[in-house]
Amino acid sequence: MAESPLHLGIALDRAGHHPAAWREPDARPEELFSPDYWAGQLAEAERGLLDLVTIEDSFGEDGAGEVTGRLDAVLIASRVAPLTRNIGIVPTAVVTHTEPFHLSKAIATLDYVSGGRAGIQVQISAGAQEAALFGRRAGTENNARLFAEAADYVEVLRRLWDSWEDGAEIRDAATGRFIDRDRLHYIDFAGEWFSVRGPSITPRPPQGQPLVVSRTGSLGAATDLAFLTPADRSDAEQRIAELGADRPAHVFADLLVFLDEDAETARERRTRLDALAGPARTEAATFTGTAAELAGLLLDWRAAGLSGFRLLPASIPHDLRRITRDLVPELQRRGAFRSAYEASTLRGLLGLPRPANRYAA
């Protein structure tokens, strides 16, 4: 292949990303809170050899007539991890009101549970309504401040993951020492929003550093993967240029997709769903059409400098299956997508090395 293969991810959010998705004939809204529902989606995504799924989460309110309520994304991720073997699992976590120490060990543990397939999508929470759930802050900070806090949070996650060197567990019976404590490190992070002493209670996870992803490029190279929402190919070019040198290793574009065997059916479905609940509220561009058309678009946009795409299925199971059973074979035929998993860790699937430990001498 002349170019490196595309990377593909899926964003899973309950019944799909269209607010009326749960009303589709094949939707199973009464099962949204059951483990089997999520296990089924992960199995489908893995069948399609996708690089990763993100599991969406939010402290925000759902609108009337939409799916209301959700389960914690990190726990969904952990619940499905033992049932899968290769796919990367990237739950979302709100970093504005939560504890970096807790999240760091949770994602390290997800990495152990999944054998090196964990990532974390960091997300801010803005506004007084969400702040009131915790009752500790007014929720009046602007997004720039919230992203500055998120950057500190990511720094703490990463330092805690490195706070144990590989091989710190020595089990030296002669001296009675279980660990070599010289290979454990205080992180001594002190910032405006929190101070964290460390070390983590959880040893360095299998990937060393689980994948850190963000929905914007604003966290720069502190993240491994950013999802942008360009309107078209030239917009993608411009946005990648704006990231400059401080860009993450991978940049994907988000696309909301309505996929059917012919474009007319896809358009009709979109019109029907929009009539029920209005259009999907997403900054991502919307694609409506066939798998062959979508494959062409992805390969065209890729030239803007994107290494992959995250697809937002408008409704589940329909659009998820069209991605795994139509789009993926189409991309394979064009030599643009893997025909088998080539690695068993998420960093491996994305061609990222296991990073050196910042504290190791």
Partner: protein
């Protein structure tokens, strides 16, 4: 029918219970160890698996303690993963009420209850120390005296969140487009001395309504907290006479809260050593104790009581002539043991008396005073002793802590459990699907603001 025994398995935590130097001792962090341990417990029809939590690595002489197992996973994350590899086993975990907020913890436990189809349990613990607080946003903000006040308000707040949804609130009617039966399902507004929160709780009511609540504190406050709020106590009084006294004390407190004795189970932690004969078991028990208390570990324990640097002392020699430092603990941090010694001078006097009477070295003394195994003997002997304890109301069952991970439960499952089943005091099959059903405790009555 005789009183039925409840049994649980505690994945060993970061203390000297685990004989990590044994070649059969496996990983304490790889998921396979947890999965294997859980599957053994489920094969044996145990009520639940229990995971402890730590939020700061222990320190000794200002350095990270390195003699025991160090390092463990996140409680919630492991329990959710174990739900994927087990079907009936209850999944209990310790979660701190000091360095968390009710909305988030309730969201996690309600999610775990859905993801495990009704098997979640929460051991509510308190901590207060600035040492642990150094890992968290708020630092060491909570005065020692307020730790139970916060814990109880925290717990009651989560109940309000769990109860903010009712069974059947998810209508999901595709035709009419109504997702909720009640538009305000999940809405809450709560104010007390600790928490002022409002909004919509995101998780519909779980299979158990609320997770099963455990409490592990032993102080007067801890016992009252348990009597008022808990479904089960993780007790440390496994010994027969002490167990009976504790059991009677706590069960008597329930009436003050309008609760019946069977609404709170008393489940002490218990260790065991099994052999083909009682004599073989005693030999194994002694070997395990020797391995658990190395010379370095013996000095470490002694320093926790003495509150002094005793590194110059020979563990195989006599106790120090100097008295303990009765001041604030300064040698050891992050260990519950240091707070357990209320009167250092008196405890040291008792230890000296014992050592002199028996001619014990430091190490022999520590082996003696830090607890022999709860049950030692052949499978028949151990089954009989467990049954006797439960029938005599010294407990309602036991939370077993094996000295090897992850295989340390196998022999108990294979040899002791069948004898308890033959006696008609332990289930041969799970009768229900939820942990509340295994424990025989009532569904909670909803509290609504």
């Amino acid at each position: 029918m005789p009183k039925q025994i409840h049994l649980a398995a505690h994945f060993p935590g970061v203390n000297n219970t685990t004989v990590w130097s044994d070649p059969a001792s496996g990983s304490h962090i790889e998921f396979d160890s947890f999965a294997r341990f859980a599957k053994t417990a489920e094969r044996a029809k145990f009520d639940f698996l229990f995971l402890a939590e730590g939020l700061r690595l222990r320190e000794h002489h200002g350095r990270i303690h390195d003699l025991d197992v160090v390092g463990r996973p996140d409680t919630f994350t492991v329990l959710a993963a174990l739900a994927a590899v087990t079907e009936r086993l209850g999944l209990a975990g310790t979660i701190n009420s000091t360095f968390n907020e009710p909305y988030e913890v309730a969201r996690q436990f309600a999610s775990l209850d859905h993801l495990s189809a009704g098997r979640a349990a929460w051991n509510v613990v308190t901590s207060w120390d600035a040492f642990t607080g150094e890992n968290f946003r708020r630092g060491g903000y909570l005065p020692y005296e307020q730790r139970y006040a916060r814990a109880e308000l925290f717990l009651r707040t989560t109940w309000e969140l769990f109860d903010s949804w009712r069974d059947g609130d998810v209508l999901a009617d595709k035709e009419s487009g109504r997702f909720l039966r009640r538009p305000d399902a999940g809405a809450f507004a709560h104010t007390d001395e600790q928490f002022e929160i409002s909004g919509r709780f995101p998780v519909p009511r779980g299979p158990q309504g609320r997770p099963v609540i455990f409490q592990a504190g032993d102080s007067e406050q801890g016992r009252e907290f348990a009597a008022a709020t808990a479904d089960a106590i993780f007790s440390r009084h496994g010994e027969f006479a002490q167990g009976k006294a504790f059991y009677a004390d706590v069960k008597a407190r329930l009436a003050n809260y309008g609760r019946r004795p069977e609404q709170l189970l008393i489940l002490p932690a218990a260790t065991f050593a099994l052999g083909d004969t009682d004599a073989e078991a005693r030999e194994l028990a002694h070997e395990v104790r020797l391995a658990q208390v190395s010379g370095a570990t013996a000095i470490h324990f002694l320093e926790q009581l003495w509150n002094r640097d005793l590194s110059g002392y020979d563990p195989e020699g006599p106790l120090p002539a100097i008295d303990p430092d009765p001041g604030e603990p300064k040698i050891s941090k992050g260990s519950a043991a240091t707070r357990r010694f209320t009167d250092r001078l008196e405890t040291a006097r008792q230890w000296r008396e014992l050592a002199e009477a028996k001619g014990f070295s430091i190490r022999e003394l520590i082996i003696e005073v830090t607890g022999r195994q709860s049950f030692i003997g052949s499978p028949g002997t151990v089954a009989a002793e467990i049954d006797r304890s439960v029938q005599a109301d010294a407990s309602d069952g036991f939370i077993l802590v094996p000295h090897l991970t992850p295989g340390g439960l196998d022999e108990f499952a294979d040899k002791v459990v069948p004898l308890l089943q033959e006696r008609g005091v332990f289930r041969t099959e799970y009768q229900g699907t939820t942990l509340r059903e295994h424990l025989g405790i009532d569904a909670p009555v909803a509290v609504r603001s």
